[in-house]
Amino acid sequence: MRTIYLSLLIVSLFCGITGCKKNSNNVCWDDSRTSGHYKVKGALWGSDDNIASSDKDGFIGPADEDFIPLKDEDLKAQFADKVTPQSNLVPGAQGSGIPKMDKFRAPLSQLASIFRNVLFNTDDHILRGKEALATIDSIADYLLEHPDTFVFIEGHADERGPEAYNLALGARRANYVRTLLVQRGVNNDQLHTVSYGKEKPLVIGHGADAWTKNRRAQFKIYQSKA
């Protein structure tokens, strides 16, 4: 584990010093516009003519990105706020090797002691405290040893925040956990996220205890060789 940490630190330092502008999928962000045109789909609320192409100056993204990222340097900074784009493998899509989300199950028996919920502070998406990070370490260790295990990380919020904002907050929490696992060497393709906002409370209640337990990331797993 320590070796992995060390390797990641060295790579990160190298990238920081050399100004390497790559995201975690090794796709160049800057100076790599495609010369081609992005094919657009048929019309959705107009006539359904033939497929056309469009080009918009300054907005042609890298060929293998499915969106055009911001060019801001601080968003790619290695130490400020590490983020990892979502895996290109879509659960349930043909050829992804990953089933639809309804095949993912809550971990049972011994696995339940590894894939434990991790809890967040109010309106926070960062895990604080040794216990939560120890849980992340255990999950990372397991996933490194079991590359055939896929995980859906669910992001949840307590009942107090606005419902629309909580949907976004849940996504942020789930992605923070995903990034922590990737930083520990887990293959990003094993990890997927879903936000439920405050709509799936673990504990029904209107007090501090319920709120604490409901501000969580929860795990559902699928094992292809199980």
């Binding site: 911001l70 968003l75 706020d81 949907l167 799936k200």
Partner: protein, 427 residues
């Protein structure tokens, strides 16, 4: 136990108040009983028609309907004389005649003496069908007399969360909450609908696991995925001209603000653009300015969530986000008015979320609502005077209708389920 029941009982009866900027400007309007001339309709049906008319004229934001009385009803049988009505303190009179299977309305302004007769509308005898004709007629009155945008013949979409905790379907109703019907039947979690046209809408569904944005018709409610992007997609918002879609996505690893440009006929123009992201922050709830040049959205980049505005730039550089809601510590779910002058949003006010209005002309924020229940997800009507929102307490969540000239909000949804995410349709 008794105390809490008493408390809930009291709060359920307490009204949601709307704070007006000035004294109420609602003009007194007299709506006479519908006169039945050779029609075969039952009285009950005629009373239903009158109820629809009464609601539309009571909550149009310009008039309040005064109580019926015998003397005025007698006066109504004769030709409408402005002076006689003016002496009685009536500003407007609306007289309706049902002749055979048609309804004719006449409106008199006692101020100007102008009498306008509106084109008769056919009646089917089915109130569910005819109420839309009435809404159209009232739109014509509003437009003629008050020179306002039409809105009474528009629809509202909202979500109803059933007893199964994680199931929410999209419903549609008229602006008065009537004609409510279920649109989607996904047995999934469908939220945050937004009208694309009178017959199509966008919404978020979890039917395939992760939340994605779908497009559907109000007729069949069958959703087709709109944006092909990995991860979670949430909280869609459209420009009035439908050339840009804003949404929240975690494709890049944070929850960022994205924009997808569309051509006039609805073709995706290139890839979605990551418009705003910020280290260690969460973005949510975009809403476009009417011309599509700016977006108001929620971010917690500087502390608790508040509302910011950024230009919709095509430079690829992150736009400068300008904080506008400074009055309250926590603000969310902004909605830009169609006339561009106001932003409605929800802000925690003395521990309860109330609807607030930001005025772009003065830069001032004012509290619009008070009373029990957390009020969230405001959305403006096309006239920029009315808005809908959901109000939630531990026992229920219902959709309310308010306008800036009326001192109380009206509950327009009923029945089981938690109603939330209302959105107002197009003209």
């Amino acid at each position: 136990m008794i105390f809490s029941l008493l408390l809930f009982g009291l709060s359920a009866e307490e009204e949601i108040r709307v704070h007006l900027t000035t004294e109420s400007l609602l003009f007194p309007l007299y709506l006479g009983a519908l006169q039945n001339e050779e029609s075969s309709f039952e009285n009950e049906y005629l009373q239903d028609l009158e109820t629809v008319l009464r609601f539309d004229l009571q909550y149009n934001g310009h008039t309040h309907v005064i109580e019926k009385e015998g003397e005025k009803e007698k006066l109504l049988l004769a030709d409408l004389q402005p002076m006689a009505w003016k002496k009685m303190g009536v500003a407007y009179v609306v007289k309706g005649i049902v002749h055979h299977r048609h309804l004719t309305l006449m409106a008199l302004s006692t101020q100007t003496g102008r009498l306008k007769s509106f084109k008769e509308i056919p009646l089917s005898g089915e109130i569910a069908q005819d109420r839309r004709q009435i809404h159209k007629l009232v739109d014509a009155i509003n437009q003629e007399i008050f020179d306002t945008s039409t809105f009474a013949n528009t629809q509202i979409l909202y979500c109803v969360q059933g007893s199964d905790k994680f199931a929410s379907e999209i419903w549609q109703c008229d602006w008065d909450g009537k004609n409510a019907r279920q649109v989607t039947k996904e047995h999934s979690y469908c939220v945050s609908p937004v009208f694309l046209s009178r017959s199509q809408f966008l919404y978020v569904s979890y039917k395939n696991g992760q939340p994605k944005i779908y497009i559907a018709s109000v007729n069949d409610g069958v959703g087709k995925q709109l944006i092909d992007l990995k991860g979670n997609q949430l909280l869609p918002a459209l420009t009035p001209s439908r050339n840009k879609l804003a949404f929240i996505s975690d494709a890049g690893g944070r929850t960022d603000l994205f924009v997808q440009p569309f051509s006039e006929d609805g073709r995706e123009m290139g890839k979605p653009i990551q418009l705003f992201s910020y280290p260690r922050s969460t973005q949510a709830s975009p809403t476009f300015s009417p011309d599509g040049s700016k977006i108001a959205f929620v971010s917690d980049k500087d502390g608790p969530p508040r509302v910011y505005i950024i230009p919709v730039s095509d430079s690829g550089k992150r736009g400068e986000a300008h904080l506008i809601t400074k009055q309250n510590k926590e603000s969310s779910c902004p909605a830009w008015s169609p006339d561009g002058t106001k932003l409605a949003y929800s802000a925690k006010t003395n521990a309860i979320r109330q609807i607030w209005i930001y005025d772009f002309k003065t830069g001032e924020e004012r509290q619009l609502t008070s009373g029990p229940g957390n009020k969230e997800n405001p959305f403006w009507a096309p006239d920029s005077l009315h808005l809908v929102f959901n109000s939630t307490d531990p026992l229920s969540s219902e959709i309310y209708l308010a306008n800036l000239n009326q001192p109380e909000a009206i509950k327009i949804t009923h029945g089981p389920g938690k109603k939330h995410y209302p959105t107002w349709g197009r003209k």
